[in-house]
Amino acid sequence: MTGWDALRAALESLRANPLRSALTMLGIVIGVAAVIAMVAVGAGARDQVLRQIASLGTNLILVGQGSIVRSGVKLGAGTASSLTEDDALAVLSEIPGVVVTAPSVRWGLQIVAGNQNWGTVLFGITPDYMEARDWTVALGRGLSDEDVAQANKVVVLGQTVVRNLFGGGDPIGEPVRLFSTPLTVVGVLAEKGQNTQGQDQDDVIFVPLSTAKRNIPGMAKSNPRFIHTMVVKMRDGADMAEAQAQIRDLLRQRHRLIPGQDDDFWMRDLSEVSATRDESSRALSFLLAAVAAVSLLVGGIGIMNIMLVSVTERTREIGLRLAIGARRRDILVQFLIESITLSLIGAAVGVTLGIGTAVAVAALAGWPTLIRIDSIVLAVVVSGLVGVFFGLYPARRAAGLNPIEALRHE
C-alpha cells in the first residue's frame, strides 16, 4: 500500500462522516488558532515596546551618584556627592567608544510664571545632554555652550510645563521664576510623550548646569563640581557590558575606592531595560505555550476517541483488508495517516482562523499584531505530532485485530 493509497483511504473515511470529522478537528482548530492569534498580539506588543526602547537609544549608559555609607548606614541614592563634572570629562577622554558624556543635576521644584505656578523637575544640563537623550527644540532655541559658560539665566520648557503655565500660548521671551531667581524662556522642547514606564517625559525644564548650581538653594554642596548623573553615549555597536566595566574601573580608581569597598555610584544601560522586557515577554510566551499545550492535548484526546470509535465501526473493513492481503503495517499506516490528516486539516483551518483573528484584532481593537511564521510552523508541526501520538494507540489496535474475528464482527 503506497502513501497515496493510504491518504486517499483516509480522506474517503473522513468524508464519510463530515460533521464528526469537523467536530473532532475543533480542538486542534481552536488550539492552533489561539496560539497564532495570541502570539501575533504578543509579538506585536513586544515589537512596539522594542521600537520605543530603540528610540530611547540602546547605546546609552546612565551613571548616577551612589549612596554614602556612614557608620554602616546607607543613606540612599544621591547622598554621596562624589560624582563630578571631571568624572564626565575623564570618561569621555579615557574610555574608547564614548561619543558624548552629558553631566546633569536634577531638582524637583515649583516654577512660577505670572500668577501661575507648576511643580516640575529641573535638569541642569549641558548641550550634550540634549544630544545624548535625543531632545529637540520645537520653538525658540536650545541651550548653548555659551549659556553654560556664562551661567545665563535662561530656561527651556517641556510641553507639559508650557501647557500648565501659559495655556498653550507662545512662552518665548517670557519671564519665569525659580525660587527667587528670574529666568527667561528661550525654547520649548519637542513633545516626547510617555516613556515605557508611563511617566510624562514632557514635564521637565532645562537650565544650564552652571545656572542651576549657582541659583538653586540647597544645590551648593561642598564640591562645586558635583553632578547627580551623567549620560554616556556610546557609538553604535559598542560592547555595552565592556564599556560599563571600563567606566566602573575608571570611576573606582578616580574615587580611590579600595578593593572590597562598594561602588559610590550606580550605573545601568538601557539594554537592561530591554532585558526586563524580554523576561516579561518570556513569561507571556510560557503562558501561551501552556494554553496551547492544553488545547492541543484536549484536541488530541478528541482525535484518539474518534479514531477508537472508527476502528470499532470499521472492524469488518479491517478484517477484509487483512484477508485480502493487507499486512499489519498497512493497517497501522492507514489509520495513522487518517489521524494525522485529521489533525493537519484541523491545523490548516486553525492557521487560517488564527491569522483572521489577528487581522481582525488589529483592525477592530487597534492593537498592533505581528503574525509570526515560526508560530505557524510550530503549531502545524505540533499538530502533526499530536496526530501521530494520539493516533498511534487506535492504529495499533486496528493493526492488532484478528482477521477471523474481525470478519465475523457485527
Binding site: 500500500m1 503506497t2 493509497d5 474517503e12 464519510a16 469488518r316 473493513e317 478484517g319 477484509l320 483488508r321 487483512l322 484477508a323 485480502i324 492481503g325 493487507a326 499486512r327 499489519r328 503495517r329 498497512d330 482477521p403 477471523i404 470478519l407
Partner: protein
C-alpha cells in the same frame, strides 16, 4: 473445570487438487470454519502441516501469510464485505493496492475481472446501487483479480434468494470450468449438489469425503 484443550480439527487429512470444485459441509461446531480459515491462511494450525501449491505455509510469519493470501487466495463472504462508499471498480482494485500494482494496471485488471462476472458496465456504481446478486458478483471479481490458485467461498449464497443463488453457483461452475479451484462452505445440500466433491465435517473430524457427478447450474 480444569484447563482442557479442545481440538477444533483433529486428524483431518485432505488433498485438494488443482481444478476441483469442493463443497465443505457440516453443522456449526463441526470444524468446517476452522478448516476454511486454515485453508485461507487466516489461521495457523497448532500442529500438523498445510501445503499450498507445494509450499509449506504452516510456519510462515504473519506478513508472509498476508502475501500468500493476497497472491494465492480469493475470498468470497456471505455478507459480501464490500466497502460501501467505494465504487465497484475501487472495491475490485483493493487487493491490488496491497500487491503493489500500478494504478493503470489496476484499472485494466479490475475491469477485466468485472467483465468476467458480467458487471463491466456497473463499474462506477456503489454497492448500495447494486442488487444482492450483483454485489456478490463484484465480490467474486475482487476475489479473482489477483489470479488466485484457490477461490474460497464462505456461504456465498447465504444472503441471496434461490434464483440469485443459482446464478452465483452457475458463475462458480463457469469459473471452475476455466480451471480455477473452488472450495465452498455451505450448510445447504441444494448448493452442495453442484460440487464434484463433498467434505462432511462433524465434531472436528472428517466424516465423509464423497465424489459425485455435479449437477449443472442453469
Amino acid at each position: 473445570m480444569g484447563p482442557q484443550t479442545v481440538h477444533a480439527l483433529d486428524g483431518v487429512t485432505v488433498a485438494i487438487r488443482r481444478g476441483e470444485f469442493v463443497a465443505v459441509m457440516g453443522p456449526s461446531g463441526s470444524g468446517k470454519s476452522t478448516f476454511m480459515n486454515l485453508l485461507g491462511c487466516l489461521d495457523r494450525p497448532d500442529s500438523g502441516r498445510y501445503r499450498l501449491d507445494g509450499q509449506e505455509v504452516a510456519g510462515l510469519s504473519s506478513d508472509a501469510l498476508a502475501a500468500v493470501r493476497n497472491r494465492s487466495i480469493g475470498f468470497v463472504f456471505q455478507s459480501f464485505n464490500l466497502l460501501p462508499r467505494q465504487t465497484a471498480l475501487d472495491n475490485v482494485m483493493l487487493p491490488m493496492v496491497y500487491a503493489g500494482v500500478g494504478h493503470a494496471r489496476r484499472v485494466e485488471r479490475a475491469l477485466a475481472a468485472l467483465d468476467s462476472v458480467g458487471l463491466r458496465e456497473r463499474a462506477r456504481h456503489r454497492p448500495t446501487q447494486l442488487s444482492g446478486g450483483q454485489q456478490q458478483r463484484v465480490a467474486i471479481a475482487r476475489a479473482l483479480v489477483n489470479d488466485p490458485l484457490l477461490l474460497l467461498a464462505d456461504e456465498p449464497t447465504g444472503a441471496l434468494d434461490t434464483a440469485t443463488s443459482l446464478e452465483i453457483i452457475g458463475l462458480f461452475q463457469r469459473l471452475n470450468r476455466r480451471g480455477i479451484t473452488v472450495v465452498l462452505v455451505t450448510h445447504e445440500p441444494e448448493v452442495a449438489r453442484f460440487a464434484g466433491r463433498v467434505l462432511q465435517f462433524r465434531d472436528g473430524r472428517l466424516l465423509d469425503d464423497l465424489r459425485q457427478e455435479p449437477e449443472v447450474a442453469p
